[in-house]
Amino acid sequence: MIQKALNKTITVKILFFASLKNYFNTSEKTITINENTTLKELRNKLFLETNISQEKLLTLLYAINHNYVSLDTLLKDGDEIAFLPMVSGG
């Protein structure tokens, strides 16, 4: 109980695109996590529940608030996080 009170939380929205929608059975979810969580920690947690292959995982890109970011980015309250497969426009 004491530890819970010390940990502030933040709420972020996560968007899934293309085949990732199939892995997560949704195109979007909003979750509450501890602050000081990195994108990598969030991703690892989320992907544990999927059957995505390690090979595929390594090709994914990530954006926060419409900018490509690296996995060590610290998440902030209200962030719009996007999990992006390699693009195939054009």
């Binding site: 085949s19 090709t59 693009v87 195939s88 426009g89 054009g90």
Partner: protein, 138 residues
């Protein structure tokens, strides 16, 4: 000018806007929906886009081109949603005084689009199978 649109790209109109300029050279690239991919016959194709990010990234690509090269005008347009076979999915047109810049910028913009703009192709084949295309092979 940039755009990501669900509508048919009005090439004729954009092309005319490039032509009105006092430019020696215009280079245009168009990417069309092919009727097959990796040996499978495509029946139906649609593009999904993370649109607010797509517009932002596309704009950044074009801004970078204007910084690096001396060009007069450009269009970088991507159509999304369902696109009939044979129609244009992407159109890039560049006008400049000298052809060198027009070629380089047109190539730069389409190469960057294919690497960075969050758009994904979803193909339905005549055998009934469907597939997300992820990653640009070429």
């Amino acid at each position: 000018m940039i755009d990501i649109t669900e509508n048919v790209i009005p090439i004729g109109k954009y092309h005319k806007e490039l032509c009105l300029l006092d430019c020696g050279g215009i280079v245009a690239f168009e990417g069309r929906i092919r009727n097959h991919n990796d040996g499978k016959e495509v029946k139906d194709l649609s593009y999904e886009c993370y649109k607010p990010m797509g517009l932002k990234v596309l704009d950044e690509i074009v801004q970078e081109a204007y910084k690096k090269w001396d060009i007069k005008k450009s269009f970088a347009i991507h159509r999304i949603g369902n696109i009939p076979l044979g129609e244009i999915a992407v159109w890039v047109g560049v006008a400049s005084h000298h052809r060198k810049e027009a070629f380089e910028v047109c190539r730069f913009i389409i190469d960057e689009i294919k690497q960075k703009v969050p758009i994904w192709k979803y193909e339905t084949y005549t055998d009934g199978s469907k597939s997300w295309i992820e990653g640009c092979k070429h």
